[in-house]
């Protein structure tokens, strides 16, 4: 295959990626957009087999095909079987391995080129290694946080700021070492320090901000791919990587806006945040807890009920039960809507995916800006396994980790019911004053059990 033909087909694949991103930006065309992207990526992968070795079969072709088969066998079942609740961490993981792959590609090309590499190529290699490694190890840490294998709270250690600064200096210095002296040892040192930096960079990020970090690392990986495209002189990789880098940066900003965070504050907030008030002392304060019957009565005589679903609902797999409750209330003439916080669940839009999975009618899902003005006319708000997104501390307590995040103003409604597993604070680890208000009723237990009990109590009325 000639270079020109290869580049032309590569261009077509690049256009596929542009159309894919465009399609993914609107609900109607999203699925088609994703398919177009997949077609582009497949075409790009297939044609390289006909081009890379001047039309002959590739060296190591069997091994390459086996590696692709193996990757597919790992990736597809993971993507198919993952619970929708665990999807954010899977995306983080996919992103991390992509960054790792880009770093490896640049390293191998560097080993091959040896002294013949031009300075520009070496600089691009160093960039790829640094950002790829940061993206890889950072994504692994976000995965561990979201999977709750490790704590979701910011991890702050003594002299953390100094250690991170030193590591960053080390990363840059070793990068300079590679550029000036060359050789594998400097590159290895550079790679290892970058991996360490990725870990240190993500550790202090609080749980609620992790999605923003995933998005940022996603953009990073895009740029890494673009840089490795430069190293390999492959236009397609430059186009694809840059597209993802640029759109990922915008998306990161949109997400940060939705959460009312400055990007800077998200990434470096952990350094400046004061220690939070200890949770223990407040736990002894009285709360009003009710039986499923009390709650059924409250709901039954309401005119308007807003359901605020949170991650706890998803964990309990209670999407279907909550829909049953909503249908039952609607059949009794109660007006029901769902108030969806932009970051309900673990990622922006995550809750919409989860409820759509349970066939909740799309029209009942109301976004925050639209539902907030309706809370004063709402009799009962049913908060199912959510906490941070209704926590007034975001408005009232400067310095707390979620301060400034827009919240659902459920406190304006007549009554608030919390279905919670325990008094444990939410993902961000902050006490919620709303739980102690007199208009608040709590029902402890697994969200699905509680909802089932409320549904049967409601049927008995």
């Amino acid at each position: 295959m000639s270079r020109n033909l290869y580049d032309l087909i590569g261009l077509a694949a690049g256009i596929c990626f542009i159309l894919a991103l465009k399609g993914l930006s609107s609900p109607k065309s999203a699925r088609r957009g994703n398919l177009i992207g997949a077609v582009g990526a497949t075409v790009a992968t297939v044609i390289v087999f006909f081009y890379a070795n001047e039309g002959k079969a590739l060296n190591n072709q069997t091994l390459i095909l086996a590696a692709i088969a193996f990757g597919t066998l790992v990736g597809v079942p993971a993507a198919r079987k993952v619970q929708m609740t665990q999807m954010p961490q899977l995306v983080a993981l996919f992103n991390g391995v992509g960054g790792g792959a880009a770093a490896l590609v640049a390293i191998v090309e560097y080993l091959k080129l040896g002294d013949t590499a031009s300075t520009a190529v070496v600089i691009a290699t160093v960039f790829t290694v640094i950002v790829g490694c940061v993206s890889f190890s950072g994504s692994i840490i976000t995965f561990l946080k979201l999977q709750e294998i490790m704590t979701t709270r910011p991890v702050i250690f003594p002299l953390g700021r100094q250690i991170i600064a030193l590591t960053l200096i080390g990363v840059l210095a070793s990068g300079g070492w590679v550029i000036s002296a060359g050789g594998t040892t400097p590159l290895l040192v550079n790679g290892l320090l970058s991996l360490l930096f990725g870990v240190l960079f993500v550790l202090p990020v609080g749980g609620a901000d992790v999605p923003i970090v995933i998005s940022l690392l996603n953009a990073f990986t895009g740029l890494t791919v673009a840089a490795s495209g430069y190293v390999l002189q492959t236009t397609l990789l430059i186009v694809a990587g840059t597209l993802v880098g640029a759109s990922g940066t915008i998306l990161t900003r949109l997400m940060a806006d939705a959460m009312g965070r400055s990007l800077f504050g998200t990434l470096f907030g952990a350094f400046t945040a004061k220690a939070q008030a200890s949770v223990g002392e407040t736990e002894a304060r009285p709360v009003k807890s009710g039986s499923p019957d009390d709650i059924a009565i409250l709901l039954n005589y309401a005119q308007r009920v807003v359901i605020v679903p949170g991650f706890g609902l998803a964990v309990a797999q209670a999407q279907h039960t909550v829909r049953e409750l909503a249908d039952l209330l609607a059949s009794k003439g109660v007006e029901v809507a769902y108030g969806i916080h932009p970051v309900a669940g673990r990622m922006p839009g995550h809750m919409n995916v989860l409820l759509a999975e349970a066939n909740v009618p799309y029209e009942q899902l109301v976004e925050m800006e639209e539902i907030n003005p309706t809370f004063p006319q709402t009799d009962v708000v049913l908060v199912v396994g959510a906490n941070d997104v209704v926590n007034p501390a975001a408005k009232t307590t400067p310095g707390c980790p979620i301060y400034g995040m827009p919240i659902l103003d459920v406190a304006l409604a007549g009554n608030v019911i919390f279905l919670k597993r325990s008094m444990r604070p939410g993902f961000a680890g902050i006490e919620n004053e709303l739980l102690y208000e007199t208009k608040t009723t709590l029902l402890f237990g697994d969200a699905k059990d509680s909802l089932t009990k409320v549904v049967s109590a409601l049927k008995a009325l």
């Binding site: 542009i18 609107s26 609900p27 792959a101 990587g241 029209e363």
Partner: protein
Amino acid sequence: MASELMSNEIALLAIFLLSVFVGFEVVSKVSTTLHTPLMSGANAIHGVILVGAIVVADHAKTNLELGLALAAVILATINMVGGFVVTDRMLQMFKGKPKSKKDLGEGK
């Protein structure tokens, strides 16, 4: 010769810069509902680094290079294939489209 090389570099720079603008432009207005699938889809797209991984695996001269390149092929495939599949799964769930966006939840 030198000028030819130069113009190639400039062309790559132009491609890079234009891609930046296209990338910015194409996602500047997205509802929060689609943030997660969009991120996931973009994530799958950078899995196309698989192309680079295949190229370096073909060029590899030593066993070390080959080993690293094959590892890159595996990781990139997971990124690309897994990414597109999981995005599709997410989007599949948005089937029941809103009939009219206007009375979304306005109710009465």
